[in-house]
Amino acid sequence: MSEERKAPRWMRLDNAGLIFPASLRKTWSNAFRISVTMEDPIDPDILQNALDRVAARFLGICARLRRSFFWFYLEETDSPTVHEDSYQPLIGMKWKDIRRCAIRVLYYRDRMAVEFFHSVTDGTGGMIFTKNLAAEYIRMKYGETVPLEEDLKDLDEPVPEEELVDSFQEHAGPVAAPRDDLHVFHLTGETEKDRFLHQTCGILDAATLRTKAKEKGITVTGYLTAILLKCLLDIQYERLHIDPSEDDSPKGLTLREIRKRKKLRPVKVQIPVNLRQIYGGCTMRNFVAVVNIGVDPRMGDYSLEELFGIVHHQMQLNITAKNLRAIFTPNVNSEKNPILKIVPLPLKTLIMRIVFDTVGETVSTTCLSNLGQVRFPSAAARHIRRVEFILGSQSQAPYNVSLTSWDGKSYVEIVRNSVEAELEQKFFRRLVREGFHVKIESNDRNTPERR
């Protein structure tokens, strides 16, 4: 008698993952990508075999998104087929793709990449998945014995239940923080007609970056956030034709200049925080909260030195267990609301989409996500040349910034779906002015030539 096929396992979406399918649209999905570049060209057959093994171990990530009457849910699925990379990262992840499998695995020359729909996991979970995939590929291709260190898992063991839990539910508290309802400055730009995603990668020396940040008494994320804020302030001044140096003019500002300054909006950068580091746990689902760090230029211009201080203190103030708990508690409460629970999924999707469009991206100007230093056991590390992390663009704002470091180099990725390279130009030029050696790589297809 043939063995009966086991019914696929299914699980509820975690609290953070609920909003992403609702906010999905034809031209935009909330996705991110982690890629590992090897020393040799990728063998797709070996990659497929490695993926088949890793997918079975991470069934909460290699899953497909489905609809029930009231909620979306994740269902275990077979591993996807690996494909050659497209002409741009994170090319349209549509509902019909996500309902088959919410991740995709791509290869191009010597690079393998995994693109994740954000409902299945966050950056940390994605990085662990990708690291395991790369390590298994190295084991299969080079016959290396890669030890189970640095987040590498035993692929033969059954999936531990603690990796599949929704940690938000465990850690939600009684008090909800008031929503940050400031309408901030938004970057705009002429959107590429086909939503082409420009990727500009700035490669910096990681040690120099750490040293410079240390000199300012701030973390690497904080250092880059301060520089990003400065660039965003400059962009806002240019848009409103304001010369910030006039603020200190002994004659004082004219009425016209004061009126112009009243149009200024706060500039804020959203920083995702890995909650596993704060509350512990090893869930492979989403477990991340965001804090908004920024300044209000209506109070006057800020020098870079001032920004380093402000960012440092705001991060210290906001990134605490108590404050973060209060930030994600309202979302958990909404999910538990009995009236919202019984609303049919189409209506719930509509409500969530309206909420997302109204408040989702209004509280920050852009996002800077740092996955930190990537580490592999040395048996695997010698075959790896580069590791990158790329966020997709936001639904409204055309930019997003992400960062990861590997083998002494930091890879700062700025993505953009607008035509003009405004932010990355300012950002990388500022880094050069601060004394960094920056190497730029880009997938640009239509940079206009200037003589």
Partner: protein
């Protein structure tokens, strides 16, 4: 190589700075380009989902059919005139909308199907009006036309390929056969409707034979084809 404007190092072989668009050029430095970050850009294929169009078209055809049937049944207590409307619309639907349901819209299949639907409509009209003209007139003429059209489509689809002049052979032959069909048409009109033959079909037959033969001559003569192309290209 560095951008003189931004101060950043650029990919080897980069032609412009991706940040500011400044042209990168140094006469003494020859760089082998680094491989591109992604495969070459290609315009994504627009995927067209015909589902909605099929639904709307289906509704557009279905609605008048139902309305006509209801009105006819209500007024005449039977299908009197609405049958003609239904048959006409059904054959039009088969001709226009049926291919949309299939991924491969092969005309070798769909054109004869559409023509057969028209022929069946003619059969319905003939039976309903007690005309008695279907078997002796519409069927042979329609059948011959379907065969001719099918032959043209099959030959065009499977034999032309990289030899467009073969179209001249095909249509030359088809034009001559069409002339012959006109003679058959006149003969069948006489047999079915008892209208005396005045041999009007000889005139179009002559003209069509001349045109067909000329097309075949042009097809067979490469030099003539070239000369005509030179004079007539658009």
């Amino acid at each position: 190589m560095y951008c003189i404007n931004c101060g950043v190092e650029l990919q080897k072989g980069a032609k412009v700075c991706p940040l500011c668009g400044t042209k990168v050029y140094h006469p003494d430095i020859q760089e082998t380009p680094e491989p591109a970050l992604y495969p070459r850009f290609s315009e994504g294929e627009e995927t067209f989902s015909p589902g909605a169009v099929q639904f709307i078209l289906g509704f557009v055809f279905f609605l008048p059919i139902v309305l006509c049937l209801m009105i006819d049944l209500n007024m005449n207590h039977g299908i009197v005139w609405s049958g003609f409307v239904c048959c006409g619309l059904a054959s039009l639907y088969i001709a226009v909308c049926l291919p949309l349901w299939f991924k491969r819209k092969n005309p070798v299949i769909f054109v004869p199907v559409a023509l057969t639907a028209l022929l069946l409509t003619a059969l319905y009209i003939s039976l309903k009006t007690h005309g008695g003209w279907f078997l002796s007139f519409a069927f042979p003429v329609g059948g011959a036309l379907i065969l001719l059209v099918e032959a043209i489509i099959v030959l065009c689809r499977y034999t032309v390929g990289a030899y467009p002049h073969r179209l001249l052979y095909i249509f030359g032959g088809a034009v001559i056969i069409l002339g012959g069909l006109l003679v058959l048409l006149e003969f069948l009109i006489k047999v079915t409707f008892d209208i005396p033959m005045i041999w009007w079909s000889i005139y179009p037959l002559t003209a069509l034979v001349i045109i067909g033969v000329m097309m075949i001559i042009v097809a067979a003569n490469k030099k003539l084809r070239r000369s005509l192309h030179k004079k007539l290209f658009i």
